[in-house]
């Protein structure tokens, strides 16, 4: 055997390849130094929404979220509804907005397919949507390609309110009140102190307003433009954005010096 070629691999029939040193030429054998295959899974969220707070009350479920989509520390889009109606179900989202838009589209497609194919006026129950979402989100996390959200699913079925949450890991649970993101730290203590399942609509809204005000004071990635929504026996209603009253006039703030 030839001394210089004794370790050469056997020649295998293959399609002719164009050899060029130009790395920009498609199909060239030479790659740019340090080039790796592109990432095809989610590593970070980009355009994000902050907390969503929701609670059960006498006639159903009430939910609130601000209308901000942040781009890191930039308040990029200040009029983005983060709650959507899906038939009789109310869905709120925090986390990546593009993933929220994607899952909404999937849910819409599922609903349209039901309506078109079955034509039996069947509407997915809130529990069905909640369970479907928790399976989809867990499946995505198991492929290391999560949908970077924490969703709040609310509904009113068989005269009983339904409230649950699903997150990017597939964690899912139902509770009398839910608070995502910073709401977990700031709103949850208030909800645990004051929530009762038989609250009236006025009491429920007052408690939600208190929670959203505290979040506006203390969450840097929030704005004072809040949407309130509720789901009752009558269905889902989502209000127009409102501004909450805030108070910045403390005596010490007006006095100067230490």
């Amino acid at each position: 055997m030839d001394f210089f070629n004794q370790h050469a691999l056997p020649v295998v029939a293959r399609a002719p390849t164009l050899k060029t040193n130009n790395p920009d030429f498609m199909g060239s054998e030479k790659k740019l130094a340090g080039a790796t295959d592109p990432t095809t899974r989610t590593l970070n969220p980009y355009v994000t929404g902050t907390s969503v707070v929701a609670l059960k009350y006498k006639d159903g479920v009430m939910m609130a979220a601000d209308t901000l989509a942040s781009y890191g520390s930039l308040s990029r889009f200040r009029n983005i509804p983060r709650m959507a109606a899906l038939g009789d179900t109310l869905l709120g989202a925090s986390g990546d907005i593009s993933d929220f838009q994607y899952i909404l589209k999937e849910l819409e497609a599922m609903k349209e397919k039901e309506e078109y194919c079955e034509e039996d006026s069947h509407v997915h129950s809130p529990t069905a949507i909640y369970t479907w979402l928790s399976r989809v989100y867990y499946a995505r996390r198991s492929k290391f390609n999560p949908l970077w959200n924490q969703l709040v699913i609310a509904g009113f079925k068989d005269a009983k309110p339904f409230l649950g949450t699903v997150d990017l890991l597939g964690t899912n649970y139902e509770d009398d009140h839910i608070a995502t993101g910073y709401g977990g730290h700031l709103a949850r203590p208030l909800l645990r102190n004051e929530h009762r399942p038989d609250m009236s609509a006025e009491e429920a809204e007052a408690l939600l307003r208190k929670c959203m005000a505290v979040l506006f004071y203390r969450d840097c990635r929030s704005i004072n433009k809040i949407q309130f929504s509720k789901v009752t026996a009558e269905g889902v209603t989502i209000s127009e954005p409102v501004e909450l009253p805030t108070s910045w006039e403390f005596k010490q703030f007006r006095q100067s010096g230490h």
């Binding site: 910073y182 730290h185 700031l186 709103a187 949850r188 203590p189 208030l190 645990r192 102190n193 208190k210 005000a213 505290v214 004071y217 203390r218 403390f250 005596k251 010490q252 703030f253 230490h258």
Partner: protein, 267 residues
């Protein structure tokens, strides 16, 4: 005089030890919810009483409100050793300062001493403090961070339970509360930390400082008492059958040597 600059002499040694495999002893952190509130006539400080070492509760009833002066107290969150030693050092310095000046110490003096020391150590002293007191210029409340910054505010919270406590303050604080209202608010805020934060727990300590001095209410509220307290384990003689009895006076024992003691010569 020793240089007042950063002193990182031991860092090289510590790095070497870490590289050769020695794991540094962990700092005992206080988890913690601490708060302070200004009100009509003074300040009210509050704290929980749980000290944690990672996921373990090291001390179920530690004291987090430290004495600085008769009219100044300081709550501490972060590494327990750091908060304890830092507050004791400044308390000592302030006592000497008081004797030198002949005046009641001021809260701003304590604040300046604390923040200048913490800044000098570049944040390596993990002490996050809520400093409050009443002096000749009125009542004052400061919050001091490990890197040495301070804020002077009407109401403050620090520690892992600070968000839970702050949510109570942001919904219910108002200027010029009566002392009793302030105590109720502080108690509610610490309770929010105790019950919603895993790093905080057990009891609620409160200290009220007015121009007349400090009123220390240790364990003001105890919302986590043990359901079944430890029983009394005294069993009177005769509970179990006595089979035999042998009494040996100590003087007769061979293994004990009785020494006579010579009195110290003080002539």
């Amino acid at each position: 005089m020793a240089s007042q600059d950063f002193n990182f002499d031991l860092c090289a040694r510590n790095d070497l030890l870490a590289r050769t495999g020695m794991t540094a002893p962990g700092a005992m952190k206080t988890g913690t919810t601490i708060v302070g509130v200004t009100c009509k006539g003074g300040v009210v400080l509050g704290a929980d009483t749980r000290a944690t070492n990672g996921p373990i509760v090291a001390d179920k009833n530690c004291e987090k409100i430290h004495y600085i002066a008769d009219n100044i107290y300081c709550c501490g969150a972060g590494t327990a050793a750091d908060t304890e030693n830092t507050t004791e050092l400044i308390s000592s310095k302030l006592k000497l300062h008081k004797l030198a000046t002949g005046r009641q110490p001021r809260v701003s003096t304590a604040c300046t001493m604390l923040k200048q020391m913490l800044w000098r150590y570049g944040g390596h002293i993990s002490a996050a403090l809520v400093l409050g007191g009443v002096d000749i210029n009125g009542s004052h409340l400061y919050t001091i961070y490990p890197h040495g910054s301070s804020d002077k505010l009407p109401y403050v919270t620090m520690g892992s339970g600070s968000l839970a406590a702050m949510s109570i303050f942001e919904s219910e604080y108002k200027d010029d509360m009566e002392i009793d209202e302030a105590i109720a608010l502080v108690t509610k805020a610490i309770a929010a930390g105790v019950f919603n934060d895993l790093g905080s727990g057990s009891n609620i300590d409160v200290t009220i400082i007015t121009k007349d001095g400090a009123d220390i209410r240790r364990n003001y509220v105890t919302p986590n008492e043990r359901k079944h307290p430890a029983a009394v384990y005294y069993y009177p003689p005769g509970t179990t059958a006595v089979l035999s009895e042998k009494i040996v006076p100590i003087a007769q024992r061979k293994d004990i040597v009785v020494e006579s003691v010579e009195k110290m010569d003080l002539a």
